[in-house]
Every structure is written in C-alpha cells, then in structure tokens.
Subunit: 122 residues, 3 copies
C-alpha cells in the first residue's frame, strides 16, 4: 500500500450559502441531482451540501489539483459513512496517478464544514 495524496478542505457556511443564493445555476454546476437530495429524497440543508463540496475540493487536492476536472465527476453520497463515486475527468486523473482506493471523512459544526481524504494505491 502507498499513499498517493491527501486533501483537506474547510468551507465557511455563511459564505457558501451566500454564493449559492447569489449565483444562478451554481447548485446544478457543483452537484448532480442525486447529490442535492438526502437518501430519503429531501433537499439537503446547506450544511450538508457544504460538506459534500468540501469532499470534492479535498479529492481534487489529493490528486494534485490539475486543471480540467469537473465537479460532477466526483459524486459524494453518505448513507451513514461518506463515499465517493468517480467518473470521467476525475477518474481519469485518479487512474493516471494509480489511485485504487479512497478514505473520506466529513464534519460540520458551528461556522464550518470540512472534509479530509486519503487517496491510496493498494
């Protein structure tokens, strides 16, 4: 086993909420339809969206943050523990770097949401 990369991301909840409100279409650009709703089909609260956004950013950092990766190509779900499904541009970079497995954790409280990930090669 080797660690290919790690990533951390912290998101200020108020700034994130303001950006979502002010920028038409940004919700759909950042998140797939599935990511915008909970396992039970409810619209996710901003806090949870911020956590999922933090995962996408942390994954990008763990991959060296090359240009050209799309937000939809790292889809975050969390029925219980958070998991990610990579496709397209993001999977291509992960393959190129030899990433075969991911560890993901999310937390939010008070003013921030955050995520941390480890990309590993098994």
């Amino acid at each position: 086993m080797s660690i290919v990369g790690i990533g951390v991301d912290v998101v200020d909840l108020q700034r994130f909420a303001e950006t979502l409100e002010r920028t038409p279409g940004i919700l759909d650009r950042l998140f797939t339809a599935a990511e915008q709703t909970s396992a039970k089909g409810h619209q996710l609260p901003t806090m949870s969206l911020a956590g999922r956004f933090a995962v996408k950013e942390a994954v990008a950092k763990a991959l060296g943050a090359p240009a050209g990766m799309h937000f939809h190509d790292c889809e975050v779900s969390n029925g219980g523990a958070p998991t990610i499904t990579l496709t397209g541009t993001v999977q291509a970079v992960a393959d190129e770097r030899g990433v075969t497995n991911w560890h993901v954790s999310i937390s939010h409280d008070g003013p921030v949401a955050m995520a941390y990930v480890i990309a590993e090669h098994l």
Copy 2:
C-alpha cells in the same frame, strides 16, 4: 500495513460550552473522571474537553460509526501527544475491523476544536 478508516471532527466551542451547561450529567456521560482533568489534576478548560470530544467522534467515524459504542470506551489523554485507550464496546468494533494501531491529532483555535485520526492494520 493498511488503512482501515479515517475520521475528522470539528466542534464549535460556543455550542459545545452551551450544551455542557444546559444538560445536567452530560459531562460525566461523555468523559471519564480521568478525562475531565489535566495531567496535573486541574479541571480541563472547555476548549480541551471539546478537543477530546472531537477525538471520540473521529474515532467513531473511522470505525464506520456503528450503533452501540459508548463514549467512555474511547478514553483520550494527552500528556504531550494525544493518545487513546479503547475498551469495551469501542475495542470490540476495532477488533472486528482489524484495527491494530491509531494515529491521533488534535487542534483548537478561535471558534473551533478539531481532531483527525487514522485507524490502521499493521
């Protein structure tokens, strides 16, 4: 070596302090007697208790957050570097998942305390 799981937790200090004040008995339910005091025997400041609570939550996440784990069964100490002692319900889950070693780090500043852990199998 393999990584069994990782966990991150962030705790808003003000909300944590308010919860401790408002909820009788919660201090004793979250922390063992040893965890409530410093190495020198002083009552720990809320900031340090929040850091220890974040470790417990991060450990739970690294173990997949199954039901039935008790807060007292992950005891956090930090004379210098933070260490954890698992017993009972938490040790049982760790054994089941093959965790043989833990890495733990805590930080607090401004509005938050946070912890991050790696559970590994050697």
Copy 3:
C-alpha cells in the same frame, strides 16, 4: 510503508493577524524571507501565512512535538500543491524517527486556516 505520525492544526485568522501586528519581529521569526512572499514575489496575505504556519505546527505534531525545533527549519511553499523543505533541527528529528516522505494539505475559508500532514516511512 508505515505512518510515523500525523498532525492537524487550525489557526484563527483574526487572532493570527492580531499577533502578527502586535509582536515586532514575529513575522521574521516564524517565516523565512522566501515564505513571506508568493511565487510571483508579492507579500503573502495573512490568510496564506496562517496556512503556512498551520503546516509548521502540524509537522511538529506529526514528529511528536519535541522541544528545540525552529520554525525556519520547516519551510513551506506552494506553487500549486504545498510542499515542505526540512532542514536543521526539524530534519534531525525527522531522520531520528525514520520519516522519509511527507503528505501536506492546506485549506482556508471564513474564520480559519488549517493544515493536515502525514509523515511516512517508505
């Protein structure tokens, strides 16, 4: 591969800015000349300095935080992904503990900057 240690550090931006303002000489004590400027030669904003400071603290924690390590001996740069260059006191401790490789990630938003590192032995 084995993980020698991990470290996390969170820095409150306002408190950090106030400390830099109030304490003559602290900027030069914490950061080398190269660390105080961006890749393009501009003075770094406080937010970025706080991120670099968080890396230094996280590296110290990953090494067990022994006494005698100097801030200048862990130099942080980030043209794209963040990297660290260890020298002197910090390299000596890293050698002693068998650290041969580092993973580093930084994030800042809203009230905080933070860093997380993994020290590994390959």
